[in-house]
Symmetry: C2
Subunit: 350 residues, 2 copies
DNA sequence: GCCTACTATGGGAACGTTCCCATTTGATAT
DNA sequence: ATATCAAATGGGAACGTTCCCATAGTAGGC
């Protein structure tokens, strides 16, 4: 109905309090200790009266700190990303920072566009969960000195802090668990590893560790949109029993979902054929015997990312990139318990 | 390493092109038709050369259009919210708008805070999926003339556009389906309806429609954190068989998750006891016979929200609030198919 | 030829901050 | 006393835009 009533400005507060705008500015720029008690009180009162709130636009124009942190998420519909984002949010809140999240939908063009938006808003740091192995604009930003944290992957030619799962450890834990449960053949299903370094790391570790454990390991990397391929490869793997119990290890939540669907479509009971996934999901305990997972400490990861940003900001001269690797938590469930499917009773007795 | 190289300004472009900054400004403010062809070309070239990009801060300061749309999400971990958000994003992109999303975590204080941030960035419209029934700051914003769209709920004392599910229709469809499948007793489980109007609408419709269909309806509203309450009430409902087949209707995805967990903990097979949920989720087809759902057209809802915003922006004088109600899609699955377990009316089987 | 009207351009004052540089105190050291 | 210094405050020039209001030219109507 009415036109927007212009919010109070610093000048009005200053007039109302009978002081200079500089003092009010100081009051709001964390230089309160330079002001006398008396002045602080008068400013606080005037500001309260007028409902004053600093205008970040004007602040940003002049080059002051924006209190803004940007976050680039490759796929907002990935529960892992959302969970980490939640951790990031909490940490930002605790630090008095505001978070601006952009979803790139795995599209480099969008990424570029959002990056432009974020930088134009003078973000003080950027947390990236990007697609791809390489990003020109990101590299540029990093070399311009913008504090940067890479989530769950590294990017070629960018020396930035990295926060994520300890991928080697995760694979080791998964293989240990599967070995313990008596599986001797493992199929590692992952999305295209060319798209993310963490996937590559996992694949590499898987390939080097399987022999160590006398496991017959095989890697299947695919585009999740192509479901026929998954079906086909799954059949190929499962239809050559060779007497050894087989298990499938899924590289992330999306894969776990796709594989579980495929298995269910072929009416393959879980447990007998082992199933294990990286990333814990809502439904993992719901689908029949439960799906064993390696849960990532998403909150901790998000929080650590913000902390890294702050550290780097505080440093006058950029320190060497640090890599933080978190330990996953094994949540064992029925999908990797063989004894329950009593058909194959073997060496291990209760 | 190096200090951030200051991006080019409008003045530099103007100098480089040998024109005035006003002309450059016009070039970027959608007034190109006021410029001669020759001038347009020169500006375009100079801008290209210098990699110029308008600074939205400075633009926002002066009061120009920000091209920004804000979105307030009550709970980012709710897949429904994320799905709608995705639709909103797409629509914004198509319109050349930027989206700024804030998660309020169902906290009024946070909501207030984020609202302040968004308004300070001069958003041109706001899409709200808020917690609570009433919001002072929101009401204020709305009466100040900010285009506002309420997602999936209305707010007391706010006359804004609303976009969401046709709740009455949804309840009708659910009850029709359950009746058809032969269920005669229905428990409607919902989160606290005091928190959202859409929940209240659904409850009201449920209560008025059950008698019409000769259904024995009962409403259970609860705080999802309190799992013991759910267990207890579920027992009470299911342990008084009275001979009539019973079903549970879940008010949203979170409830469906909680109820499914509870049922599974008590080893109650689905289908025999009916289960149906509003909101489609990843796992609904995975958990054993499949969970019947009413899927919301989330993309369409998100897109409609942005469209509403644009419409309202275009209108010089605020039109009467419009309410857009979408039709859900019934996805029937095993959890509401009785005949399959019709052989045994026995409830406690291994 | 002169007034008006319109088109294409440019100058400069905002917008609300921050921050550099005063200026005004009062205290302390010489 | 005077010089020095720190603490407390204020004035005013940026920051990069937009937009109001000139200023030229150019055309048409009388």
């Amino acid at each position: 109905m009415s036109a927007t009533p212009r919010p109070a400005t610093i000048l009005e507060v200053a007039r109302d309090a009978g002081v200079s705008k500089t003092s009010v500015s100081r009051f709001y720029s964390g230089e309160r200790d330079r002001l006398s008690q008396h002045m602080q009180q008068r400013i606080a009162e005037a500001a309260e009266r007028l409902g004053y709130q600093p205008n970040p636009m004007a602040r940003g124009l002049k080059g002051g700190p924006s209190g803004l942190v940007g976050m680039l998420v490759a796929d907002i519909r990935n529960p892992f990303s959302v969970a980490v984002m939640h951790g990031v949010e909490q940490a930002c809140r605790a630090q008095g920072l505001s978070l601006m999240v952009c979803n790139t939908d795995n599209d480099p063009v969008l990424e570029r566009q959002h990056l432009a938006l974020l930088t134009s808003y003078r973000i003080e740091g950027l947390i990236v969960n990007a697609a791809g192995r390489h990003s020109e604009p990101l590299a540029e930003l990093a070399s311009d000195g913008l504090p940067l944290v890479l989530l769950d992957r590294s990017l070629e030619g960018i020396a930035a802090d990295e926060v994520g799962l300890d991928n080697n450890l995760a694979i080791d834990m998964a293989l240990d668990h599967l070995t313990e449960q008596g599986y001797r053949r493992v199929l590692f299903v992952t999305e295209l590893p060319t798209r993310a370094s963490s996937r590559q790391t996992r694949v590499a570790r898987f390939e080097s560790e399987c022999p160590e454990r006398q496991l017959a390991g095989k890697v299947l990397s695919l585009d999740l949109d192509d479901t026929t391929c998954l079906d086909h490869e799954l059949s190929a793997f499962l239809d050559t029993p060779d007497g050894h119990p087989a298990a499938i290890l899924c590289g992330n939540g999306q894969v776990t979902l796709a594989v579980t669907r495929a298995l269910q479509a072929r009416r393959i009971p879980l447990g007998d054929t082992g199933l294990m996934g990286i990333d814990e999901l809502d439904w993992c305990q719901l689908v029949t015997p439960g799906v064993t997972t390696l849960a990532q400490p998403t909150d901790a990861i998000g929080q650590a990312a913000v902390e890294q940003l702050r550290d780097r900001q505080a440093q006058p001269i950029a320190p060497a990139p640090r890599h933080l690797r978190f330990t996953p938590q094994l949540i064992p469930r029925g999908s990797t318990r063989r004894e329950q499917s009593a058909s194959t009773t073997d060496e291990t007795s209760p």
